[in-house]
Symmetry: C2
Subunit: 281 residues, 2 copies
C-alpha cells in the first residue's frame, strides 16, 4: 500500500499559543513553584508535559499556593485577575495579546457607556474572560444573529468577537444590531489564524481520501476544524495523538490529509505523520 500524505502548512500552534507555551516552559526554569489557573492551552499533552515539570493546574485562585501563577492563553476574568493580584502571587501573563486587546476594548467601551455585545460561545473561557471586563448589567454574549432578537433595547452598542469567530458571524450580528440602535462601535477582534487554518483544511479535505485533525478533544477550534473537514470528507477523524489512530481506517486509502488545531504542538503532529507514513511502507 502506498500512502500519499498532505500536511497542512497552517497545522498547529497559532501565535498566541506558541507564545504562551514558550512563556510557560521559560517560567518553569525561573520559578520554584509555578502553577497555572486552568489549563494553559487546550492540549492535554502539553499540560501533562508541564505537569511532569511540576506545574500544577488549579481551577480556583484561592487554592493556588504561594509562588508564581501563569495566566492561560485564553485569559482570565477581571475578578480572577483581581483576586490573583490580591493574593500577592507572581504573575506570568500568557494571555494571547489578541484576547487581551478584546478584553481592553470591552473595558473601554463599557466605561464609555456602551452596552456590550460579544459574538462567541458563552461557555468558552476566552468569552467568559472578555465579558467580565464589561459592566455585567449591560453585557450580552450572542452565539449568532438569531440571538440578537432576544436582546433588550439599547441605544449605543459596542461589539467585539471571540478571536476565533468567523467574520461572517460577526457581520451578521453587526447588521442586526445596526437597525436596533443609534450607534454601534465594532472592534474587529477576530484573529485570521483560524480562518487561514480552516480554509487550508477545506482545500486539503477536498483532494484526499481520509482526513486526520489533531488536537485536544476539549479544544473548540480543533472540534470546529474537524466538523468543517467532515462536511467535505466524511472519512475525517479527530484525534489527540498517534495512539488514537486505527490502522483499519487506511484500507484502500491512497491520499491522507493531516491538519491540527491551534493548540496542538509540533511533536504530536510529527508523531502522527510518522505513524501514517509507516502504514504506507
Amino acid at each position: 500500500m502506498s500512502l500519499d500524505i498532505v500536511l497542512a502548512k497552517s497545522a498547529g500552534f497559532c501565535f498566541g499559543v506558541k507564545r504562551a507555551t514558550k512563556m510557560a516552559f521559560e517560567a518553569v526554569e525561573t520559578h520554584d513553584h509555578l502553577c497555572s489557573l486552568g489549563p494553559i492551552i487546550h492540549s492535554p499533552q502539553v499540560v501533562e508535559m508541564l505537569s511532569d515539570q511540576g506545574v500544577e493546574v488549579f481551577n480556583d485562585v484561592q487554592d493556588i499556593p504561594q509562588g508564581a501563577v501563569i495566566i492561560r492563553s485564553h485569559g482570565v476574568s477581571a475578578e480572577e485577575m483581581s483576586r490573583i493580584l490580591d493574593r500577592d502571587l507572581i504573575v506570568v501573563d500568557a494571555t494571547c495579546p489578541f484576547v487581551k486587546k478584546a478584553q481592553e476594548d470591552v473595558a473601554r467601551l463599557s466605561s464609555e457607556g456602551y452596552s456590550i455585545v460579544i459574538v462567541g460561545e458563552l461557555e468558552h473561557p476566552e468569552v467568559q474572560g472578555i465579558v467580565s471586563y464589561a459592566d455585567s448589567k449591560r453585557a450580552y454574549v450572542v452565539a449568532n444573529v438569531n440571538e440578537v432578537s432576544n436582546l433588550p433595547r439599547m441605544n449605543r452598542i459596542g461589539i467585539v468577537a471571540q478571536t476565533t469567530q468567523s467574520i461572517e458571524n460577526l457581520r451578521e450580528v453587526v447588521s442586526a444590531c445596526l437597525v436596533r440602535c443609534q450607534e454601534i462601535r465594532v472592534y474587529n477582534t477576530i484573529c485570521d489564524a483560524t480562518l487561514v487554518r480552516q480554509n487550508e483544511a477545506s482545500a486539503i479535505a477536498r483532494q484526499v481520501d481520509l482526513m486526520l485533525v489533531i488536537g485536544g478533544y476539549n479544544s473548540a477550534n480543533t472540534t470546529r476544524l474537524a466538523q468543517i473537514c467532515k462536511e467535505i470528507q466524511p472519512e475525517t477523524y479527530h484525534i489527540e495523538t498517534a495512539g488514537d489512530i486505527d490502522s483499519g481506517w487506511f484500507n484502500g486509502t491512497g491520499k491522507v490529509g493531516i491538519t491540527a488545531g491551534a493548540s496542538t504542538p509540533r511533536w504530536l503532529i510529527d508523531e502522527v505523520v510518522s505513524r501514517v507514513a509507516s502504514y504506507g511502507k
Copy 2:
C-alpha cells in the same frame, strides 16, 4: 367613468421640511431682507411662493446682500457656514435636525481620528454638506457596497448615511468596511420617514391601475419614490403639479393611487386630488 382615489397617509412634508418651511414663512414676517442659500426645499412651487414674498435665492454666499439668510433643510457646508458667519448676516438655520446630527457626528468622528465614510449620493447637497465637516483628506462618499473596494486602507472608520438612504445599503457598506479595518463606528443617521413613505407607496401601487407621485423634478426622494412605484405599476407618473396631468391617462382606469415626496406641500397634493376627482364625475 367612476374613479376611486387612494391617497397615501405619508404623502408630503416630512418633519424636517415642515419645520424648514414654517421657519421660512415666519422669517419672512420678521426680517426685511430675507434670502436663502440654495432652494430652501426641493419644491419649486414653495420656493416660488417665498419668492413672491421677496425671498431671493442665491447660490453663493458672497452674492447675498446684508440682512438675514435662511439655511435650507439639506444644510450647507462647513465652509459656507463659516463664510456666512464672517459676513455678519442674521442666520435662520432651517437645517433638518437629523441632517445636523449627521454633520455633528462626522465632525466628532473626524476630530477623534476616524477616517469617514458617508453612504449617499455624492452630488446631493445634503451629502456635500455632511462630508464638509470631516477632514477632507480622509473622507469618502460611497453610493453603495461596490464602491467600498475602491477605498484606501483605513484602520478606524467612522460611518454615517445620508438621512434618506435605505438601511440595507448602509448595512452592506458597514459589512464590507468591517473586514477592511480594526474598528468601525457607525451612527445610524437614517430617518425612517423615507422608508415609511416608500413602503406605503409600494402597497398602494400594488392595488391601483395608475399611480401619481407628486414632487419637484429636482427632488431625489420624489424621483426614487416614482421609480419604486413604476417597478410595481408601470402606469406611474411623476408630476410637480395638477397642471402636469394629462386627462388621457385615465382612460379605462378605475383606481388611482396618489403619494408625494417629502418636500411636496399639502396644497399641491390637494390640487391633484381635486383634479383627479373631477375626471371621475
